[in-house]
């Protein structure tokens, strides 16, 4: 292990940094991993393409975190585990799901000791709310709709306090450095200065979150382009369950609001019910096999299906979704439940007692991701993953509240295991980083008329129109062919030269990653000829028991390879 804190030293024109454990991504998973790695005796460096603790999904989460802490009612992680496996429709890796539920209890308690501020009863017990799919009230939260910001702030403060953790924003990781199959560190683009930096690490953890930016309408941030999946795949690691993108059925659609999270209507529905209506103001969810009269019991996949079908049948709301109405709820009740949020709505010109709003499905979370074992190892020596970047724990469908628990619990394991591995020392073969450095600094010819931001928007359109929650063989094939045309336009090098805060350059690297990740989603979705959870095939409706299997992807000589693997089941 190195004695000094990670430091910069000259190496040609590219800066070079060394650390025991490198964590890519400073969301819930990455920050927890860095803290745990340092507590285990390693020097940890956590980097993010954006600001520390602000760039990803964690800071945006508003609602709840599931863990069987049993303060509301007696509870046991085994019950949470059973619910998680049931929601995953047969595809969960039972060992990873168990880790989420069992370690989840400890991380939620530790967050409480770190003063995250979980909402409490007057007698001091932590409150736990009920959420669909859980057999009892199990979800902790921070009022009002502040869970994510509180989790991020708490972890960032803890990382500041923890000796041995260094934090660094504005570092976009563009490539992993691999030597003889082992991961030695990364090449990053220092976005502030527009220069490449290399980082050698005893162990590297990918905690870059999910891929929802691949879709035009998504709930997450501009940094969720699936970078971690592409990095892992290109380095030789495997991905699992890539066809399972979770759509959130009632994302805000219209009127245009500012300063609000698009999934904000979920807590409204939990607390107040609300009525989901089609374009001619009829309730419609019951036509699709569920009930929805005022209560919020419809699962995410069914509601998404029902709304999409109504719109397709010409019965959508004016902006192409469904109406969500709270017009029958008295103003006093709205205020009591959502206090300041009602004022923010008023500032957007929305009075819920007088108008319904429009909602539609929106890409929200990714169940699939990097394949790991219970030590969060990818199987490549020196490469770990954690958080939403990992696939397998949630199978075909994620239970509400499980994602933050997953980020924290998996982050903790990854930090500990990476620190252990890093005791083996730092190896660095600069020659293996040369291509990545050259690409990060490449000044390709200017390409007037080609716009990488517009290119990314095109990818989002293709994915939304053809690879959304409902898929067909023909649509998927069409998407694949349009994306390969886009890939051909991307070219081999980014147009240059690199500039400080060069969004166009970042777009080029994002597009490179997103094109590869989109291909993995399309390939897996095409192969899975059945409908299950978040993956619905119009041409193969209904669940086929023969398909109770995971799909695993690797990159082999530049081509994707898909294989079926038996689901890891573990006796309870």
């Amino acid at each position: 292990m190195t004695e000094a804190m990670p430091g910069v030293r000259g190496q040609g024109a590219a800066g070079h940094i060394e650390t025991d454990v490198l964590v890519i991504g400073a969301g819930g998973a990455g920050l927890y991993a860095a803290i745990e790695a340092a507590r285990s005796g390693a020097r940890a460096l956590v980097i993010d393409r954006s600001l520390i603790g602000r760039g990803g999904a964690t800071v945006m989460a508003q609602m709840t975190v599931a863990a069987a802490i049993g303060t509301e009612q007696p509870d046991d992680w085994r019950d949470h585990w059973r619910d998680t496996l049931a929601a995953g429709r047969g595809l969960c890796d039972a060992r990873l799901a168990r880790l989420l539920c069992e370690d989840g209890v400890e991380v939620i308690r530790e967050m409480d000791r770190w003063k995250v501020g979980w909402a409490r009863h007057a007698d001091g017990r932590i409150r736990q709310a009920f959420a669909p799919g859980h057999d009892r009230p199990r979800c902790v939260y921070v009022d009002f709709l502040s869970t994510g910001p509180a989790v991020s702030r708490t972890l960032r403060t803890q990382a500041q306090r923890q000796e041995g953790v260094q934090r660094m924003g504005e570092m976009l990781v563009t490539d992993l450095v691999v030597s003889d199959g082992a991961v030695q560190g990364v090449v990053a683009l220092d976005l502030a200065h527009g220069v490449p930096v290399t980082i050698a690490a005893g162990a590297t953890i990918i905690a870059t979150g999910g891929l929802t930016r691949l879709y035009r309408r998504n709930s997450a941030s501009a940094n969720m382009a699936g970078d971690g999946y592409a990095l892992a795949l290109r380095a030789g690691a495997a991905l699992i369950d890539m066809e399972f993108v979770q759509f959130f059925p009632i994302g805000h659609l219209a009127p245009r609001m500012v300063g609000m999270d698009p999934i904000m209507w979920d807590p409204f529905r939990y607390k107040l019910g609300g009525r989901l209506l089609n374009g001619v103001r009829e309730e419609f969810v019951d036509r699709y096999g569920s009930t929805d009269s005022g209560k919020y019991v419809t699962t995410r996949d069914l509601a998404t299906y029902a709304i999409t079908k109504e719109v397709a049948a010409g019965r959508g709301s004016p902006a192409g979704g469904a109406w969500l109405s709270f017009e029958h709820v008295p103003e006093a009740v709205l205020r009591e439940n959502f206090g300041p949020v009602i004022d923010r709505l008023a500032a957007n010109g929305i009075d819920l007692t007088k108008t319904a709003i429009e909602v539609a499905p929106i890409a929200h979370y990714h169940m699939g991701g990097i394949r790991v074992d219970t030590s969060m190892s990818t199987g490549l020596p020196g490469l770990y993953a954690a958080g939403e970047a990992v696939g397998g724990a949630n199978g075909a469908n994620r239970l509400s509240g499980n994602a933050i628990t997953e980020a924290l619990a998996f982050g903790r394991v990854a930090g500990r295991e990476a620190a252990r591995f890093a005791k083996g020392g730092i190896a660095w073969d600069a020659a293996k980083a040369a291509d990545g450095v050259a690409l990060a600094r490449a000044a390709g010819p200017a390409r007037p008329g080609w716009n990488p931001a517009a290119g990314f928007a095109r990818l989002q359109d293709i994915m939304s129109d053809l690879v959304g929650p409902f898929r067909t063989e023909a649509g998927l094939a069409e998407a694949a062919s349009r994306l390969s045309a886009l890939a051909a336009e991307l070219g081999e090098v980014p147009p240059g030269p690199p500039l400080p805060h060069d969004l166009a350059r970042a777009d080029w690297f994002d597009l490179r990653a997103a094109l590869l990740v989109a291909e993995t989603v399309i390939l897996s979705a095409t192969e899975r000829r059945e409908s299950r959870g978040a993956h619905q095939r119009e041409d193969y409706p209904g669940l086929d028991p023969a398909w109770e299997t995971n799909q695993v992807l690797t990159l082999d000589g530049g081509a994707l390879r898909l294989a079926q693997r038996a689901v890891v089941k573990e006796a309870a």
Binding site: G10, G55, E170, A192, A222, N451, D502, L503
Partner: protein, 118 residues
């Protein structure tokens, strides 16, 4: 078509500042950030500004000056008039509207050699 006229300060540190004006389509409810992203997608991808969360006002990255006052670009609304945008004056300038806003111990180290001049 109704438009908003964005008058934006362009350039990096040490460069002579210049101003560039863009017409962006105006629709009620749109944010200034929507306008800036429209410019990048349709007119000029080289424009630099900071943002992450797009709309939720959670990341707090998108601070800049609108007509001299500090705003979040994702919550300030586009208007059918000329709007003057400048980078934060009290933070080191990166380029255009982007400034270095992270605490000093969370920034990348200064490169050993200056970046090649564009």
């Amino acid at each position: 078509m109704s438009v908003a006229l964005l008058d934006i300060r362009r350039g990096g540190p040490g460069e002579a500042p210049r101003r560039q004006r863009y017409e962006v389509p105006f629709e009620p409810g749109r944010s200034v950030l929507d306008g800036l992203r429209w410019i990048r997608e349709h007119e000029d991808p080289s424009l630099a500004m900071r943002y992450a969360c797009l709309n939720a006002n959670a990341c707090k990255e998108c601070m800049m000056l609108l007509d001299g006052a500090v705003i979040y670009a994702c919550t300030a609304r586009l208007e059918e008039r000329e709007m003057r945008l400048d980078p934060l004056p009290n933070k080191p300038l990166l380029r255009d509207l982007a400034t270095s806003i992270a605490p000093p111990d969370e920034r990348p180290p200064e490169p050993a050699r200056p970046a090649p001049a564009p």
